[in-house]
């Protein structure tokens, strides 16, 4: 006896529909975004930090580079909201300007790896074959180098400062994007979707651009929010080691280093810049979590 009720509500098979919907339905996504607490919290925190950084030229109280050797190492007061450092520079102003540099560097630097990584990853996942194998080996090799070792060596190789930072990250950071995008592309390929599109006679570029990229790039974007945190952390660490944003430009990392010598008495000199970094990290993480929720295909 073999019976099967027809017309029952069994069965899914809505994957293809869901994926297509992802590309089309951008408005419901905005609505979802507006309700997502993580997203809003993260965006708010970041918004505040970025606004402060942008407004630095107007809300600092003293030029950040101006030294005043008669007023060194002062405790926070009305005149100097966060006190002064070992060269008499106003800490509040330096904090603002350092944030300006560090945040800007972080956000801009990360664009290169995203671009490179997405392109390479998409090509590898789409065309497969030997480029994919070679790419995977390259990724393995790059990942075998401990993160900081590679960055520091590269920065040394190319030169300290902003240029070094850019190149160091361009060369090393693309790897994770490539991996993520590659596996997303492979998954979509497996769903037979691109095969169908190809069968319909669309050119490769068209398929990549309209069907594959919009789906794979969401993963990359979500990862980017954590990656910016890592980049900023690295920028700040390089600053601490003296390899990053060069003096006299203020940088949270170098501020922490400067304050280290006075840790026992003026502990806030080192602690507060670190807290700014932590705050940035929190904002970006919340944003990332929120985005992941919102962008997730239903």
């Amino acid at each position: 006896m073999s019976t099967r009720p027809v017309g029952s509500t069994e069965g899914g098979g809505d994957q293809a529909v869901a994926l297509e919907g992802l590309v089309v339905r951008s408005h419901p996504m905005l609505r979802k975004a507006a309700h997502n607490r993580s997203l809003i919290a993260g965006a708010t925190i970041l918004g505040i930090l970025i606004t402060l950084a942008v407004l630095a030229p107007w809300i600092d109280r003293y030029p950040p580079l101006e030294q005043n050797l008669t007023e060194i190492l002062q405790t926070p007061s009305w005149a100097h909201w966060l006190g002064t450092d070992q060269l008499g520079r106003d800490v509040w102003s330096r904090l603002l300007w350092a944030g300006r540099f560090d945040l800007a560097t972080g956000f801009i630097v990360v664009l290169i790896p995203i671009t490179i990584g997405t392109i390479i990853g998409t090509l590898a996942g789409y065309y497969k074959g030997w480029p994919d194998t070679v790419l995977s080996r390259i990724i393995d090799i790059v990942m075998a180098f401990p993160y900081y070792v590679l960055i520091i060596t590269l920065v040394f190789a190319v030169g300290k400062g902003i240029r070094g930072i850019f190149i160091a990250f361009a060369l090393t950071d693309w790897v994770t994007y490539a991996r993520t995008v590659r596996s997303s592309t492979l998954v979509i390929g497996r769903l037979g979707w691109s095969a169908a599109a190809k069968g319909g006679g669309l050119s490769d570029v068209r398929i990549l651009g309209r069907h594959i990229l919009p789906n794979t790039i969401t993963q990359a974007i979500v990862y980017a929010t954590s990656d910016i945190v890592y980049v900023i952390l690295a920028v700040v660490t390089l600053g601490y080691l003296g390899l990053g944003i060069q003096a006299p430009q203020p940088d949270w990392g170098s501020m922490i280093f400067d304050g280290q010598a006075f840790m026992t008495t003026k502990w806030w000199l080192s602690t507060i810049p670190g807290l700014c970094v932590v705050l940035t990290g929190i904002g970006l993480s919340l944003l990332g979590d929120g985005l992941a929720d919102v962008l997730r295909p239903e």
Partner: protein
């Protein structure tokens, strides 16, 4: 008869979804005698799986038993809290729909089958292993010794399902709750597993509660059947009676929508529409929007399950019409 193997009275399970509470199982009662089986049939989403899970104390997070009583062989079973698992040891066992996900992927079959005998029944390692071997043979798995050391992913769907049955039997329950155990299997294997369950019932006196969306499957195995719709029972009675002369439009619909390749010449007729959104139940009888017998009277009030002849009950206001017309839609 005193002390049925399992008795469920007025079970209500509530679920939280999107900040609202609704009843996914609304006052379900059933009784299973020793050595007999009962089928629980309904469309996907009607609450039958939840009923089993509630009985077993395995409800998912957002679901809670808000009313009802479950007794096994006369003993009251707690429906929540710490003593839930302990109370069911040796009394109830359960098998699940998808053997692919219901078996622990990192342990051998032998280990999983021997685990309850060792940890729950207190057997020694060698005795437990011997018992596991016995159980593997009992459920009809060839080459049992080798299978002891196999991992679930190395086995076919049908074999996995047999292993799951062996696992469920390993704690020596009197009642086996089966949550759509054949749905994920192909048709020939389905028949084999059903056969196995029938044999187990006969040879071991095992009582079985068999949940499925295919009404015809229960004919072989279950003496009694309950039909469920949108969380409530809409028909109950002896399987043979219900299948031969269904007394609820939904049951009729289910029978008509099934494809019986052996018998039917006519095409299957699916029931139009789909299950109502539990947060938006239709007024009155929940089935009336899809019912071919619907009258204005169906919208006014809830229709409870009411007796409709010897050993039968139906939740339809117009049961008498159905009795009179003697609709013969049954499956031989």
């Amino acid at each position: 008869m005193s002390n049925p193997a399992l008795q469920v009275e007025g079970l209500v399970v509530e679920i939280m979804r999107d900040r609202e509470r609704f009843r996914a199982v609304d006052g379900v009662s059933l009784t299973v005698e020793l050595g007999k089986s009962i089928g629980l049939v309904g469309e996907s989403g009607c609450g039958k799986s939840l009923t089993l899970r509630a009985i077993m104390g395995l409800l998912p997070e957002r679901a809670v038993v808000s009313a009802g009583r479950v007794t096994a062989a006369g003993a009251d079973l707690p429906l929540a809290g710490k003593r839930v698992a302990a109370a069911r040891r040796g009394r109830l066992g359960m098998i699940f729909q998808d053997p692919g996900t219901a078996l622990d992927p990192v342990m051998t079959c032998g280990y999983q089958i021997a685990e309850a005998p060792r940890r729950v029944l207190g057997m020694s390692r060698s005795r437990a292993d011997a018992r596991a071997l016995e159980l593997l043979r009992l459920v009809g798995i060839p080459d049992a010794e080798r299978r002891m050391r196999s991992y679930p992913h190395e086995l076919s769907g049908g074999t996995r399902q047999r292993v799951m049955i062996a696992i469920a039997l390993s704690s020596e329950p009197k009642v086996l709750l089966c949550d759509e155990p054949t749905t994920a299997l192909d048709v020939t294997i389905q028949a084999q597993i059903l056969r196995l369950l029938v044999d187990l019932q006969e040879e071991m006196g095992l009582s079985i509660v068999f949940v499925t969306h295919e009404l015809a499957l229960v004919g072989e195995l279950c003496q009694d059947v309950r039909v469920m719709y949108a969380g409530r029972l809409v028909e109950s009675g002896r399987t043979a009676d219900v299948l031969a002369r269904p007394l609820h439009p939904y049951t009729i619909g289910l029978l008509r929508s099934a494809v019986d390749l052996d018998v039917d010449v006519s095409a299957p007729v699916p029931i139009p529409g789909s299950l109502p959104d539990p947060l938006n139940r239709p007024a009155g009888c929940a089935f009336h929007p899809r019912c071919f017998l619907a009258r204005p009277g169906c919208e006014t009030a809830d229709v409870p399950l009411a007796p409709a002849g010897e050993g039968r009950a139906s939740a339809c206001l117009y049961v008498d019409e159905l009795v009179k017309e003697g609709l013969e839609v049954g499956v031989p």
